[in-house]
């Protein structure tokens, strides 16, 4: 119960990013795991038709998220940041929450059929959530970098969330 409350509190911190240390101080990897598994499950194609191979979707998303987070962490450490390995993993994992919400909304919107208006709505939602993710993670990670190198640490985060947003946007069930 205590862990669940901690996870819930961190979700709130991500949704309303303020300059607080709660995400960094007591890190945990439950939230990122739940979010990653949810995202990977929702990105599964229905492999009924044998022409399009929808099998590796789960493993692909999982590997992309975790290895991407590890790479960004190593990069920010090498650039001279004073953040620990797991703290950074925790922040990056929690900031996938807006993109998971975007995935849910996209799924609901896709129920109404596909078309150009449909695509525009999904594009708008995913773009907004992508910006939210990047801003949220920047708010937590940028403080740990030397002041003149913030852009160098933020760019890989931008790429990481861009790849995940792209996977969400181009998903068709």
């Amino acid at each position: 119960m205590r862990d669940l409350k901690a996870v819930g509190k961190k979700f709130m911190h991500v949704l309303y990013p303020r300059k607080s240390n709660a995400l960094l101080r007591d890190w945990d990897l439950w939230g990122p795991l739940i979010l990653c598994v949810t995202l990977a499950l929702m990105l599964q194609k229905s492999s009924v038709d044998g022409e399009k191979d929808g099998g590796p979707q789960f493993a692909e998303v999982f590997v992309v998220v975790w290895f991407g987070a590890v790479t960004i962490t190593l990069n920010s450490k090498l650039l001279g940041g004073n953040i620990s390995f797991f703290q950074s993993l925790c922040v990056l994992g929690y900031c996938i929450l807006p993109l998971t919400v975007a995935m849910l909304i996209c799924r609901l919107v896709l129920l109404a059929g596909q078309g150009p208006i449909n695509f525009m709505i999904r594009l708008f939602v995913v773009a907004v959530m992508f910006a939210w993710s990047v801003i949220a993670s920047t708010a937590f990670l940028a403080d740990s970098q030397p002041p003149n190198r913030k852009a160098l640490a933020v760019y890989p985060v931008f790429l990481f969330y861009f790849v995940i947003s792209w996977m969400i946007l181009t998903f068709t069930p």
Binding site: E51, K52, D53, P56, A59, E60, V63, V64, T71, L74, N75, K77, L78, L79, G80, N148, R149, A151, L152, Y155, P156, L159, F162, V163, W166, T170
Partner: protein
């Protein structure tokens, strides 16, 4: 009289328990030689003895006085005990040395701080290096400077991966064995690391003054041109535009790399070999990236425009069921045969 006698007897008593077993064996009979050998309990592996000794020392930490007393008693061990103690000391030293070496090696290789100096860059530096990678410098008389950093090249490779992914998804590429992500990452990293190593090897053969790190950085920054070209042409599907950009942008970044290498190589044959290989590989890679992951778009455009059935169909379409020719079971007839049958039927 009593005082000198007491220490003497004390010594004898001190030696008594140690030599007690020996005296008993002598009294026992003629098998004294064998028993003496059995008494030597340091004949096993000294390391095991070391481990045992350390274990015992740890347990005896509580009653340290008793341990000290026992060590004092054990000094008077005689010939056999002395040899055992020597081998124990040697084993102890070897163990300590081995432990020190192992921990040093571990801290050396598991330390990512080795890579730290290669990431020591400012955003302004990265920006200027990106722009410079498109500007070939004509001065080839003395070696041009190559920045040895890994941040820019690594970020460019990841950007190329992202752009490739975007292109593959747009053109609906179907990868049978493997995943889109795996293919993109494998292609880009394989090119960067593989071609860098190959050109470094050629540079070694041609006596060029370039280190592996510099080669990695040079090729990494050369991918900036690729990123630009692919980003534009994956969104605007015009062949003429692609060829123009291929020559212009790809050519510029290749010329820059070639100029750097020429300035660091002596001899016309070597220069030709090295720079020709690099130019060919770099330009061909861009061609490959555009066409391998983009062909399907062509197929879709063609089938949308013309009523004629193209010979190779990449887009699955509904082919109406046709009664097969006499003698052929239904399962043998494949898509092409069905399509031809439909065309023949429609005439």
């Amino acid at each position: 009289m009593a005082t000198p006698a007491a220490p003497a007897s004390g010594v004898r008593h001190g030696a008594g328990p140690e030599w007690g077993g020996f005296e008993e064996n002598i009294q026992g009979g003629g098998s004294a030689v064998i028993d003496m050998e059995n008494m030597d309990d340091t004949s096993g592996s000294s390391f095991e003895d070391m481990g045992e000794l350390h274990q015992r020392l740890r347990e005896e930490e509580v009653d340290a006085d008793a341990a000290a007393a026992e060590e004092e008693d054990g000094e008077f061990l005689g010939m056999k005990g002395f040899k055992g103690q020597l081998s124990r000391q040697v084993a102890d030293q070897m163990w300590q040395a081995g432990k020190r070496q192992a921990s040093r090696a571990f801290s050396l290789y598991a330390n990512i701080d080795i890579l730290r100096p290669y990431f020591d860059v400012e955003p302004a530096q990265v920006r200027s290096r990106l722009l410079e990678s498109m500007i070939p410098i004509k001065m080839v008389s003395f070696p041009q400077k190559v920045a040895g950093e890994l941040y820019g090249p690594l970020m460019l490779v990841f950007t190329l991966v992202a752009i490739l992914l975007h292109g593959m998804k747009t053109s609906d590429t179907i990868i049978r064995e493997g995943t889109l992500m795996g293919t993109a990452i494998g292609t880009c990293f394989g090119y960067w690391l593989g071609v860098s190593s190959f050109i470094y090897f050629l540079a070694y053969l041609c006596n060029a003054q370039i280190t592996m790190l510099q080669m990695l950085a040079l090729l990494g920054y050369g991918l900036f041109g690729h990123c630009i070209v692919l980003f534009i042409t994956y969104n605007i599907h015009l062949h003429a535009l692609f060829y123009l950009f291929w020559l212009l942008v790809g050519g510029l970044s290749t010329l820059r790399m070639v100029a750097v290498l020429v300035s660091r190589t002596v001899g016309p044959t070597q220069r030709l070999l090295l720079c020709g290989t690099l130019a060919a590989l770099h330009m061909l890679f861009l061609l490959y990236l555009h066409f391998a992951y983009h062909k399907v778009v062509e197929g879709i455009l063609d089938t949308l425009e013309g009523p004629n059935l193209p010979p190779m169909q990449r887009v699955p379409r509904d082919i109406p069921a046709v009664p097969p020719a006499a003698g052929l079971p239904v399962s043998v007839v494949n898509a092409t045969a069905k399509a031809i049958a439909v065309t023949l039927q429609s005439h």
